[in-house]
Amino acid sequence: MSLESQVAVFVDGVLNYFDTTVQQSAQCGTPHLALSDKPEISDYTGVIQVTGKRTGMVAFTAPKSMLSVMLMRMQETDMGHENLCDLVGEIANTLSGNARRDFGHQFQISVPSVLSGRDSQLEYPPDLRPIVIPIDWRNYHARLIVCLGG
């Protein structure tokens, strides 16, 4: 499976999550490479690590305000830190599930981990340029960061 197909699996996974769980579509902006600086991290970030035929990480990072509105749409009343972490973790978990389903046994996908805070540090594989895919929902802006090599 080519890298572009694998990136597409993650993009589709996020967009499907909005369609089915949040029940309001999100739009994908034009993807670009993080060339000079590391990609900007938002308030909450769900991360999965990929090993096997390719090695790297995939992260979904979104601002607190966006996640709170998503929780509201999902009939959730508690907008606390725990629930926001759970939501971003669930999105990462969905990506993990999609990757397991579509990539097959040549890839090992980790259990999702959640980072909170804009100063969180994501560990990128050396010598790889992350691909940043803007995910826009209502007036909020999240990002999908895919950094896979091998």
Binding site: M1, S2, L3, E4, S5, V7, A8, V11, D12, L15, N16, D19, S25, A26, Q27, C28, G29, T30, P31, H32, L33, L35, R129, I131, V132, I133, P134, D136
Partner: protein, 735 residues
């Protein structure tokens, strides 16, 4: 699996047999009914004849009784009445007997009629005698006196008549009885024969009915078996159609898909109900107009029975096509489908349907690409080394800088906000221009691996440009290729560094006396590397540009199958700061001149031109305000009408606009991003971006361009680049 299904010929057998048996039975029944009627008539005749047999004797007995009664003067009234009754009954019986014989069909037998006739003839005198006897009976027959009873006159007349009748007819009645007995025997025989024949008919009918019943039961059993087998086969076909991954379908002569098709066809074509739909209409949203047209022609050929389908299979335009499906979020999913078609013949000579099979070969195509990429990566390692050795280090450094800048500019375009179609088209066009320019730079240096990669990005962008709908995630493959391009540049840079280190080592080694390292191979390698190292100090940027353009000319000429000579003048005078700009302009214009301007050798010979075409590039710095760059070829020149027509086919103008197009308007079209006069896309032309890149470079430099041309003779582009802008750029880059 052998199916107990009746063949086409045998299918008519039960019907034919049933018809035959029914006809035979009807005939038998009809004959039977006729025979029964005849038998009934013959029986009636027999009964009548049997009844008549005894009548003459009875009549004679009654006559004798009357004779004796008259003699003894006793009462004879009863006998007279009985006799009259017998006579009347006999007359009726004879009449009925004649009718019954006719009805029984026995009148055809001459002996029967002869016997009847004879009997009637024998009966006639007796009948007459009896009639007279009846007429004589008037008044009392006896008169009583003291002497006793005596016959009256009437009695005497009666007695005479009776006596006379007995005397004349005694012999006759015997003959009559025998005659009627013989007739009765004949009738009995007829009855027996008719009965026998009727029995035979009944037996035959019963046998036929039994045969009919048995055959019906047999064929019904066979039909049941066939229906069961057909049911099983139908279920098996349904299982196959429901399970098979390929889309199986039939196309009728009307171009529509048949009712029976595999379930997966819906998923493969993303159509809810393919049955009954026009196949070409189904294809229309999936493929471009050209492929659709070719597919229509190909299917048309399949319907022509004389065309060998094995031979035309290789030109199937749908054997592998890229199709785009719209997804929920406006994104597009690209799949690769493979169609194959076979004729289905209803008769030996005429095609009834075309059987189509479509399968999703996306994984196979992508895997093949991956394999090709792996192979080309392996190839590119050696190609990389060759390129490093061929290109001057400084030029290579400059190119790698250009590459880095082009990818960064492309990335910045993608990163910029904007998701509307116009924004995405603008981004697409910008990245396209960057890649086209980069490709030209790479080609000028002979860097084939970079040319190929930049061309691949152009391919992707071309595909996106044709789409009706665009979404952000359609650009994922573009970003991945940009990343690969950058990685390739880094690999080249690392290799150049290692080669540079090898050169330094070689130069040091070459300074040592030769006897210190007697290995000739090392010496030879060292000399080459040293020569390369010394070359680093040589050419100026302008001279390097000259060399690069010569190399580009050779490469594009070879690829375009043209014979072209490049004559350059004054390029060494190009200020260093202006070299990248001039190079960018020259590369695109030189490629345009070779691909679009210079004619093939044969055509040049026909028009009396020298066989080898020439492109002249002249740079002058004599003017105080502007640098001047002239690119001129002695090719076919520009034809405004042809440009107008091409603009119509490209959708840039309509027919009216093209008709009203003036010369300068036509030349302005040459700089439109979507305009190209090349019919096919190659690494060197056909995208329509070359002069767009030139235009952008001139615009950025604050310059202007002019065109002069004569059809069939030459085309000259004159570019003026302001000195002030060039110096300002030079200062800003130095700062």
């Amino acid at each position: 699996m052998a199916q107990p299904v009746l063949s086409r010929q045998l299918r008519w057998l039960p019907v034919a047999l049933a018809l035959l048996c029914t006809t035979a039975l009807s005939l038998l029944l009809f004959t039977g009914v006729q025979r029964a009627a005849r038998l009934q008539s013959a029986s009636t005749a027999l009964q009548l004849a049997a009844g008549l047999t005894a009548q003459p004797q009875l009549m004679r007995s009654e006559l004798t009784l009357i004779q004796r009664g008259l003699e003894t003067q006793t009462y004879v009234g009863d006998s007279l009445r009985t006799l009259a009754g017998s006579r009347e009954a006999s007359n009726v019986a004879y009449a009925q007997l004649a009718d019954a014989i006719k009805a029984a069909g026995l009148d055809a037998r001459s002996d029967t009629l002869a016997m009847l006739d004879k009997a009637q003839k024998l009966w006639a005198p007796l009948d007459k005698g009896l009639e007279r006897l009846g007429n004589n009976k008037t008044g009392d027959l006896y008169s009583d006196s003291a002497a006793g009873s005596t016959l009256t006159a009437a009695g005497a007349r009666l007695k005479r008549s009776v006596d006379e009748l007995l005397a004349t007819q005694t012999k006759n009645t015997g003959a009559l009885s025998r005659q009627v007995s013989e007739l009765a025997a004949l009738l009995r025989e007829a009855v027996v024969n008719d009965g026998r024949s009727l029995r035979a008919l009944l037996l035959g009918g019963s046998a036929l009915a039994a045969l009919l019943l048995a055959s019906m039961l047999y064929f019904s059993w066979r039909a049941g078996q066939a229906a069961r087998a057909a049911g099983i086969a139908q279920r098996q076909v349904a299982h196959i159609m429901g399970t098979v991954r390929e889309g199986l379908f039939l196309i009728g002569r009307d171009g529509r898909i048949g009712g029976a098709h595999s379930d997966s066809l819906r998923g493969l074509l993303r159509v809810g109900t393919p049955a009954g739909q026009d196949f070409e209409q189904l294809l229309r949203p999936l493929v471009d107009e050209k492929t659709l047209l070719a597919a229509g022609k190909y299917l048309g050929l399949l319907w022509k029975d004389k065309v060998n389908e094995e031979l035309i299979e290789s030109v199937n335009p749908l054997s592998q096509i890229e199709v785009s499906f719209q997804k929920a979020q406006g994104a597009t999913e690209v799949r690769y489908l493979s169609f194959s078609f076979r004729r289905v013949r209803a008769t030996a000579s005429t095609a009834d349907h075309v059987f189509g099979v479509v399968s999703d070969v996306t994984e196979r195509v992508l895997l093949q690409r991956e394999l090709d990429s792996l192979k080309s990566d392996t190839d590119s390692q050696s190609a990389l080394l060759l390129q490093v050795l061929q290109v001057e280090p400084l030029q290579m450094q400059t190119f790698l800088g250009t590459l880095d800048a082009a990818v960064r500019r492309s990335n910045a375009l993608l990163r910029a906000p904007g998701k509307q179609r116009a924004d995405l088209q603008q981004k697409l066009q910008g990245v396209f221009r960057e890649m086209h320019s980069l490709k030209g730079e790479a080609a000028a240096l002979g860097l084939g691996t970079f040319v190929r990669r930049a061309h691949e990005v152009e391919d992707l962008l071309s595909g996106l440009r044709k789409r009706a709908e665009l979404a952000g995630n359609d650009f994922v493959p573009v970003v991945v290729r940009l990343d690969e391009l950058m990685t390739h540049g880094q690999e080249m840079s690392a290799l150049q560094e290692r080669v540079g280190q090898a050169r330094s080592t070689a130069v040091s080694a070459n300074d040592l006396p030769p006897e210190r390292h007697g290995d000739t191979a090392v010496l030879a390698g060292g000399q080459v590397a040293a020569a390369l190292a010394r070359a680093d100090l040589g050419p100026t940027p302008g001279e390097q540009l000259k060399v690069a353009l010569q190399r580009l000319c050779a490469e594009v000429s070879a690829a375009s199958k043209r014979d072209v000579r490049l004559l350059s003048e004054g390029l060494e005078k190009v200020p260093a700061s202006l070299v990248p700009r001039v190079r960018e302009i020259c590369i695109q214009m030189l490629r345009n001149s070779i691909v679009h301007g210079i004619e093939p050798r044969e055509r040049r010979a026909l028009t009396g031109k020298p066989p080898v075409g020439s492109v002249r590039i002249r740079f002058t710095d004599s003017d105080q305000e502007n640098y001047s760059l002239i690119v001129e070829d002695d090719g076919q020149g520009l034809n405004p009408e042809e440009i107008g027509m091409r603009a119509v086919t490209r959708g840039l103008l309509d027919a009216t606009q093209a008709a009203n197009l003036d010369r300068s308007g036509a030349f302005r079209l040459l700089f439109h991003p979507d305009f190209s006069t090349a019919d096919t896309v190659s690494e060197h032309a056909g995208r329509g971006v070359g002069l767009d890149v030139v235009n952008a470079a001139i615009r950025d430099s604050g310059g202007r361009i002019g065109i002069s041309t004569t059809a069939g003779k030459y085309t000259r582009f004159k570019v003026l680049l302001p000195r002030a802008q060039a110096e300002a750029d030079s200062q800003s880059s130095a700062a």
